[in-house]
């Protein structure tokens, strides 16, 4: 209360001074009128009244201005704090005060402290409101949302999670995510591998997974989700990783059924084929030496037909995969002459039974290429198979490989048979398209070239054809040297590159090497 006592003293002193001045003026007025100027009568009365009239005007003015000064400063402080006027009013400077300064400074300090407390309260309320709305959003989200802390423990799960995963939020909270969720991924690109490679290396990161299976407690069937993860190292609440699950169980089940129809058909075709090829081999081994020339030829033809059928079954499967966007390639560094010779060797039997010789001319010092050896095998096998089919009485097929002017490895298959009419050439790589003129003479579905083009495209190469009726056809395709592929894929020493038949998909190794 010391400030207030001092204020009263100062107030009293100023009041005293003002009254003193007032009285002094009146006395001085009287003295001047009565003693100096010596006025009398009406003029004296008027002159004597002058001083009180003057002070009646002067005193309130003086008192008001002086004595209310502290109040003005406090008022200014309040305006400065108040939210509606804060921006237009400057902070008061109570040190300019001539009296009541200590009290005013103290009061203003108190006011500012109060204001900051109120401001803090407001913020707390706002955050609480925000927390409530965030919680509302999380709970209303029709997707399971799971939040992990820095040790991969579940710190939050919304109620939808319960419905999907059959575990209560209370059960999930505090558990390690890998214990709580029985997840399996289609590759070694898993949640744990992502978090392991992200933590300590990135501040924020996002990742997505498809076809994540999550097993349910006490059930044989698992659900299939797409999973999206967001990682944030610096989250002040300790919410380091957010996971959102998208239930695609039904969609994937349908995909799998469509695919599994083809897969099962192929399986059923392949089993008898395996046996046929096995028995043909046994017969060839046991009886071969004793057979006459005609029967030996029949045996070879039977073997060649079985091989051809096996190749066709692969074609069906791969076309189904391309249609379903499921054909993926693993591009590895390969020795191209070895790949070519491997295909030529396998197709030689089929050519041989038709009296055709496959001749190869492979340039020396070809660079290694980046190819998926299974798929590119099928490209060359299909081109050779066609060349054999359409050779029509001619007895040679040439396979050449060299480095072309663009620095790509170009491989050509040249036959001297029927050839293709120019009107048909533009459609030759379309699905199910076949040379109408030839349909009656030669079997085939028109899948082979369509498939070959899709595979070559996916390798980043090009396929082309030059043909003349009755002179034969030359099919050529390019593949990239492995060194160029690495540049294109920015793989940085990655030994394997994954692509699907419609372009790049991802850029990580699924292989151990």
């Amino acid at each position: 209360m010391g400030y207030f006592d001092a204020f009263i003293r100062q107030f009293r002193a100023r009041l005293f001074l003002i009254i003193l001045v007032n009285n002094a003026l009146i006395v001085a007025d009287w003295y001047i009128v009565d003693q100096v100027v010596k006025l009398t009568g009406v003029w004296a009365l008027v002159a004597l009244l002058a001083a009180p009239v003057l002070t009646i005007g002067l005193i309130p003015w003086l008192s008001a201005n002086t004595l209310t000064q502290p109040t003005k400063f406090i008022w200014q402080a309040i305006l400065h704090i108040a939210p509606t006027t804060a921006s237009s009013v400057t902070a008061p400077k109570p040190e300019q005060l001539t009296f009541g300064r200590d009290l005013v400074m103290n009061l203003i300090n108190q006011l500012y402290q109060l204001a900051s407390v109120i401001h803090g309260l407001e913020q707390t309320n706002a955050r609480a409101a925000q927390d409530l709305s965030v919680n509302f959003v999380a709970q209303s989200l029709p997707l399971p949302l799971i939040v992990l802390d820095s040790e991969d423990k579940i710190v939050y799960a919304n109620e939808v999670t319960e419905r999907y995963l059959g575990k209560t939020v209370a059960d999930l909270t505090g558990q390690n995510v890998y214990t709580a969720l029985d997840m399996s991924f289609v590759s070694d690109d898993t949640l744990s591998s992502w978090l392991k490679s992200t933590k300590g290396k990135a501040v924020t990161a996002d990742h997505k997974w498809e076809r994540v299976r999550i097993g349910l407690p006490g059930q044989n069937d698992s659900l299939q989700f797409d999973l999206a993860g967001h990682y944030n190292q610096d989250n002040s609440l300790g919410y380091e990783t957010m996971l959102v699950l998208f239930d695609h169980t039904e969609v994937y089940a349908q995909d799998d059924q469509a695919m599994s129809f083809v897969a099962l058909s192929v399986h059923e075709l392949r089993t008898p084929l395996t046996l046929l090829r096995g028995y043909i081999e046994v017969f060839d081994e046991e009886l071969g030496p004793n057979l006459n020339t005609e029967l030996k030829e029949f045996m070879k033809k039977m073997d060649a037909s079985a091989q051809q059928l096996a190749g066709f079954v692969d074609n069906i499967l791969n076309v189904a995969k391309i249609e379903d966007n499921q054909l993926t390639l693993q591009l590895h560094e390969e020795n191209w002459p070895a790949v070519v010779k491997n295909v030529v060797r396998d197709l030689s039997l089929r050519a041989g039974v038709r009296g055709i010789t496959i001749k190869t001319d492979i340039a020396k010092d070809l660079p290694t290429v980046g190819v998926d050896r299974y798929s590119i095998y099928e490209v060359l096998a299909n081109l050779l198979d066609n060349a054999i089919k359409y050779s029509k009485g001619t007895n040679e097929i040439y396979v050449t490989a060299s480095l072309n002017k663009d620095g790509l490895v170009e491989t050509s298959v040249k036959d001297f048979g029927l050839g293709i009419d120019t009107s048909i050439l533009p459609h030759i790589f379309d699905k199910f398209y076949r040379n109408h003129r030839n349909r009656a003479q030669i079997g085939g579905t028109g899948l082979g070239l369509y498939l070959s083009k899709a595979i070559v495209d996916a390798h980043g190469g090009q396929i082309s054809v030059i043909s003349k009726v009755d002179e034969g056809s030359t099919f050529s395709f390019t593949v990239l040297p492995f060194s160029q592929l690495q540049d294109a894929g920015k793989t940085a020493g990655n030994p394997s590159i994954t692509r699907n038949a419609h372009g790049w998909i991802k850029n990580h190794s699924l292989y151990r090497d």
Binding site: V186, S187, D188, M259, V262, A263, V266, H267, L269, R270, T271, L273, T274, L275, R277, G278, Y279, I280, E281, V282, E285, A310, V313, D314, L317, K321, Q326, L327, T328, Q330, L510, Y511, R512
Partner: protein
């Protein structure tokens, strides 16, 4: 007939198609392997875990326990502590490519049966086992 490539090496063929296992066993025996055949996943797994084999030929579509499950169990050191055999997948079942890559990573070889003859299998094993 080629000379015996692997005298005494033990092969377990887990294959439910009896005619196929018969053909494989014939070719492998002639090449000098000792061959046991199991027709389902459960028995195959039990045999692989109790006996010491050098090579296991594993079909994927087999009764009782799937080939993938057998593979996982044999590759998990907690479930199968001492596992020295090379595991070669021999299947006609087509997988999604990413699933196949995952299986290939766990196995020592992956063969489509329709694409090879018994002799080619023997040839493959002599290389993988070198």
């Amino acid at each position: 007939m080629e000379p015996a490539a692997a005298p005494g090496k033990r092969v377990l063929c887990i294959e439910d198609e009896h005619f196929i296992s018969e053909l494989y066993a014939r070719a492998l025996t002639r090449a000098g392997y000792q061959v046991d055949v199991q027709l389902d996943g459960q028995k195959g797994l039990a045999a692989a875990q109790t006996d010491q084999y050098d090579i296991i030929l594993l079909d994927l579509m087999i009764p009782n326990i799937t080939g993938i499950e057998v593979l996982r169990t044999l590759r998990d050191p907690r479930l199968t502590p001492k596992m020295h055999a090379k595991i070669i997948i021999t299947t006609n079942l087509e997988q999604r490519d990413d699933v196949r890559a995952d299986i290939e990573q766990q196995a020592d070889g992956y063969l489509v049966k329709a694409e090879i003859t018994p002799h080619e299998l023997v040839d493959f094993l002599s290389h993988i086992d070198a």
